[in-house]
Symmetry: D2
Subunit: 463 residues, 4 copies
């Protein structure tokens, strides 16, 4: 420990105090009660960090601490995390000293050495504690769920945001794509796992075990990534339908029509439709697997079913209607939208769909003209609407698939007939086509120059 340890501790405590004072958690507690357990935690954490009793004992202590943590309510958890991040952070005196040496070093090699030292000094002691929670029976899952909590809490206090970022760094290192295992999920998979699909499906909710069984029928495929540290938990999974020609209606794919369930169906399929991709772990937000998943699954399918010729998604357009609303608002308030006249006109025509008393509530109530307008707007939106800050596609699903190198292939009127589909995009869905020979080029054009690849059919909608 450096000699300025006392100063640093005082600083830390002051910082911690400020956070705590403002925290609603603490205000609701009698401070005295809380003081006792905080003192206990301090001792326990310090013991772990000092490796009292050796490395194995330190791990056991960390596990014991983790068990205690799990028994806390949300308030207690936040209190513990505040204490951890505020009192067991980086040693700033050491950091400052290394920086000074680095600045005075006249040799690149010496600098390199100091950089390694500095990097290590910048890893806060609290990360050691987090890392050792990995020894809990479900340790990795514990940390993933902890980050999910921190993502909800990080606005509350800067300390929790720091903790969240640090944990993300740790998880990103552990969840390197090289460690993930692709597994096919079938009706022969453990019920405890299938139950999680039902819970985690984020795009088209699974209604029942019968619905799930239909999605695992012989003409379907389901794949997920798993990590060896939490082998019972899917990280992300994709549902695929094997069909003839590109499918445009998700209702047709999901409805459990027994008549097309027979085994021969798969044989004549020439197209794989990726109709649902769901992230299963909130705590892994920002650590991306979707791109790898799609391409690994395409590879698996090509090997097993060489008769497949096309790989396409059937995707929602989640932000279309929100974007339309915003543009209409701007037009109402006479702001400059920067949109072409024809688009403004089409938007205007759709106005009566979106008020409190819309003229239609589902695709088949819409007039032919309105339908044409919506398709026109959807095509323009997908091909031209961008986020100002980043220049990327406005629609988040479009951005994901375009980054992956797919192209916009087809719009599907009444692709999703349920109320959620209507609320997002008047039921319009879109196919993104994954043509392996074009993926790199599409990606480069999109990422480098913002060019969005689309089929001639879609482009024609704009003429």
């Amino acid at each position: 420990m450096s000699q300025t340890f006392l100063d640093r501790t005082i600083d830390n405590l002051r910082f911690a105090w400020r956070e705590l004072r403002d925290s609603s958690v603490v205000r609701s507690l009698g401070l005295d009660e809380s003081q006792n357990r905080q003192d206990r935690w301090r001792r326990q954490i310090a013991d772990c960090l000092a490796r009292r009793g050796g490395a194995v004992s330190a791990r056991s202590r960390a596990a014991a601490l983790g068990h205690d943590f799990l028994r806390l309510d949300d308030g207690g958890k936040r209190e513990f995390l505040h204490l951890l991040v505020n009192e067991f952070g980086v040693d700033r005196d050491r950091v400052g000293a290394i920086m000074a040496d680095w600045n005075m070093a006249d040799d690149l090699a010496e600098q390199a050495l100091l950089e390694t030292e500095l990097r290590s000094e910048l890893v806060p002691p609290f990360r050691t504690i987090l890392k050792e929670f990995n020894s809990l029976p479900q340790g990795v899952k514990f940390l993933v769920d902890l980050r999910a909590d921190l993502l909800r809490w990080r606005k509350e206090a800067p300390g929790l945001a720091i903790l969240e970022r640090d944990l993300k760094e740790l998880l990103a290192s552990w969840f390197d794509i090289g460690f993930l295992e692709l597994q096919r999920i079938t009706w022969n998979s453990p019920a405890a796992l299938l139950e999680k699909l039902i819970a985690y499906e984020a795009v088209h909710a699974i209604q029942s075990w019968d619905d799930l069984k239909r999605r695992l029928a012989p003409d379907r495929r389901c794949f997920a990534f798993f990590h060896p540290g939490m082998p019972d938990e899917p990280l992300i999974f994709v549902e695929v339908a094997l069909v003839s020609g590109i499918a445009g209606s998700v209702d047709a794919l999901i409805q459990s029509d027994e008549s097309d369930q027979d085994d021969d169906e798969a044989v004549v399929a020439d197209t794989a439709i990726f109709y649902s991709i769901s992230n299963a772990q909130a705590g892994l937000a920002g650590i991306s697997f979707g791109d790898f998943l799609i391409k690994r699954v395409v590879g698996e399918l090509q090997r097993d079913l060489p008769e497949l010729k096309q790989f396409s998604t059937l995707s929602p357009i989640p932000a279309l209607r929100g974007w339309m609303d915003k543009q209409l608002d701007a037009m109402t308030q006479k702001h400059e939208t920067g949109l072409p006249k024809a688009i403004e006109a089409a938007l205007h025509d759709c106005d009566d769909l979106m008020g409190p008393k819309p003229v239609a509530r589902q695709p088949n109530e819409v007039s032919e003209r309105t339908r044409a307008n919506i398709e026109y707007l959807a095509a323009w939106y997908l091909l031209n609407a961008k986020r100002i800050e980043t220049g990327s596609a406005f629609d988040p699903v479009a951005h994901f698939h375009l980054t992956n190198g797919s192209r916009i292939e087809r719009l599907n009127w009444n692709g999703n007939g349920n109320s959620n589909g209507w609320m997002q995009s008047f039921g319009v869905m879109v196919n993104y086509l994954y043509d392996l020979s074009m993926i790199e080029k599409n990606h480069e054009n999109y990422v480098g120059q913002g060019k969005i690849a689309a089929s001639s059919v879609v482009k024609r909608l704009l003429r």
Copy 2:
């Protein structure tokens, strides 16, 4: 990229050039030939780092680069690694700028943010390349073996030492003890795995498949740690004999006497003797598993064989004779040894064992008096000889087991009758006893105060 990119690149190239110029590798190559492939590597690495074609493509590129690397000879590999570390290091302008901001920040929270940023900036781009080699079919093993190479090469050039340290950081994060799996190894394990035990056994060489089979007999146990990223490779393994009372002779344990091989043997055993612990991966040097392995195995054995009452090693004393040599040299040259008179006298008496024409070459040729002297010296050495720099036990095996919290239990004359045992310690072996109730206390006493735990039997040898 920062605007000072050019300057930095020039700096980097200058540094690289200095290293390369001095390197015997390059001198032996025509520089022109080598220039071409270096340019190709530069482009390939830059493409990977720029994520050209997207994340999935970047991984594929890294894998291709890894394949190329594997086909290089040692000279080519070093050339590639030099280039990688020298030209794709940390961006020092960015680092300097963040440091400046940090020093001027007047808010602890702002500093915390800058620390995260700095830490991330200090991770050199070359680590990204290393990490992506993980996507090679045997990627983790590739990196472990690469570090083994770097450990041999790091003296050659500072750059390779930096790379080695960086790779160690990466591997230490991946090989967190929480991810390791303990597996029992039996005669039913795959031959391809057992073959590795034969290759990796470092303490008592396995002579043949019959010898190996004997070590996996019903009265034996063998356990190893495995990592999910390289499931066919043991990381470290331990061999255990189940016997009655503490065993003193490794010859008795290893000799394949068929007569004591019957199944009933295990039933009456009350003691587990850990007679060999071998690290199997040179590339994981410094990332420690041995402590965890011993304690996990003790736990497994206790659960499966509740009749076991004692857990002890049977260990060599590898540095005893080297230490004696050194002390005798010092005495010959009339230097101050700091040793007690009695020890100096005993050493003097052993002198004629160690010259070019020793009076004895194996334990049973030794006089009763010499034997007493050696046991006396061995006991003193284990209990008192320390490394000056660190204050830890002079003997490396003693240091390992004492750090783990064991105590010195018994010395065994003629414990190891082969020539290697004679060269290390005149055939004397030692038992370290793992008494679970004392482990933490022993560890703390040893690590904190340098106190070495020993049984009264061993202590009596010094009276």
Copy 3:
């Protein structure tokens, strides 16, 4: 082939014809159409039996024949089976000849030889065909299901009854208890397997996946026997609840009260209640596994949960009310029942429960006096009512558990509150206790002398 082959064939055909003529199947078919495919079958079967093209080809032919058979409707299947059993039966000339030799043999050894020969001659060629269906992908399951069909059809024609008995002999040999594997079924078992539990549960229907999950909770156990030839199909399974003290109400066990689902429940349990045993394969009727299952499961539970002290069933009394009805009828018609006066009186009192307008429809509508009468009758019935032909207990469930060596432990008023329970036994259930130290003695007493073991509590009900 023997020279009297022609005669035999004519006999066979005559026999076959008689059966066919009477069979409703054939009458509904135009005979000509059916003739063609019968000729084809004859040729195919003969080819298989002659091993045309070698053993491997013969198996393939049999498999092809099996595939054809699977595509037939029930009428077609029966037609095929008639043909098979009638035209490919035992060679009676050979049988007669061996019998003659046997009768004239004057040497026991010679007789022994002839017996082996005769036994082999008595295995009809059609069994070879059945056996070779085992090479179909799900061959064993195919044969098990075929026997299930034959059990339904055997009354139709003597030939099908012969086939059924023959198939039973084959299956009994294959399903030797030594080949069966006991597996624990949990919520981690494949959904495709769990789905079968839902379908096959014969005692207390499983209402939903939630109901199933409850039955696989930590305080429950479920075990099944499997055969390696049909690894996805349970043969028989048992559901067990771990509770404190003997449970009397199945409703309490099955209802999904979340509050008692926590993990600690299992810890304090001292009693295992076997509350449901279901045979899953109709085609294995008469090949008994239940006895082995119960005792293997008791063994497993004792090993895993040494705190368990009692093993008991909670069982229905399925034939109680039917028996009461019969006795009342006899009394009404003034027949001699042979029952004690007190029983006749109690029956008489229960009369108004069983008419078309019963005074009560569930346990809690019943008067105290009626309840006492029912319990009295149930106890008497279990301890005394016997099948005249066999002397075994009248109640089939009682017979099963008494043969297994259990004793009648306790009667439970309102043990099963649903309408099925009421229809069987006015909701009364019974515990059969498996006391391992008494099992052999109880079995011998019951099987040898018809003595039924019962607790003093149950016996007291009769005083």
Copy 4:
């Protein structure tokens, strides 16, 4: 039990006594000692058969009896088996009675019923005991090994031969080909299994673990059949080399020339050479799997390695030299051999190879003329030499492969250079080609008409 039980028992005892009296086993025992244990066995067997204590208990009793049996020496085992077969055989009174009924039955259906009854009565009680030994931990292996013993002992006493035949019937039913599992064996298989390959290899002995590893190299394949009842024991296994063109020398295949071990070898291979097929279980003699194994392996290889175009054996000609010896003897004694003149002449020329002082001891010492003679004789022998009794090929290996539908493809001079090869066939080996499109036809021609298929190359040798 029938009323004539006493008579039958007397008969049985008389029969038993005769066998026992003649048996060397019993003569060497004091009869009194042996009497005691025989009485104990009688009681134990009778208890099992009577199912005392129920079916589960009976199984346990049988298992206990089996354990006792395993501890007996060979004499004791035979004594037990004599007693079992002689005293617990078929009830001949019952058999005789059913036969009488059968002969008087005037109805085919009634006869059919009696046949089932008779068949069941002809299954001796001792088989029940054998079958229940299946409940021993390694029960199936126990019975297989018991039959191996009985095959050695059956000449001793008619009873043991009866037992052997009965056990064969039981094992043949259990080892139905439909239950066998084909597994590929690799260097990753358990050492305990690989050790068995070394022990069981019957054609070309495996010299060492290195030799074995070579036979499991990437350009090799090894497959075995397993039965679920003895999963650790191969039943039969085949070793295959993947090469370019048909291989003629087994030495070239087996020698561990490291230079051709690289992975690319397998890629260019167009031919699979089956160079060794070994039955691993003596106790399954006469229950044939070889035909199925070869064809299943051909199927596996075609699927995995579509570039394979030919499937051929490289086989010894084990009985060639013995046949030549016999013919030469006959010629010496002026008997009629029935051989063509040219063959007699060639035989005569080979005479000096076969005397006590042969002119050559290995292929390369032989003159060109002698070589031509041997090849001529080998070709004639393979194509024409038949067993008089059966009409099948004289050479047993030829008979096996010809029955399987292969053809004689090529003779290979110096195919097997070791002394064993010389003793069998002067080192000549032969390829049998498995051409899937010809297998059925070849089989039918061989089995039906004794026609042996051969390539034109081989036929030309006879011109």
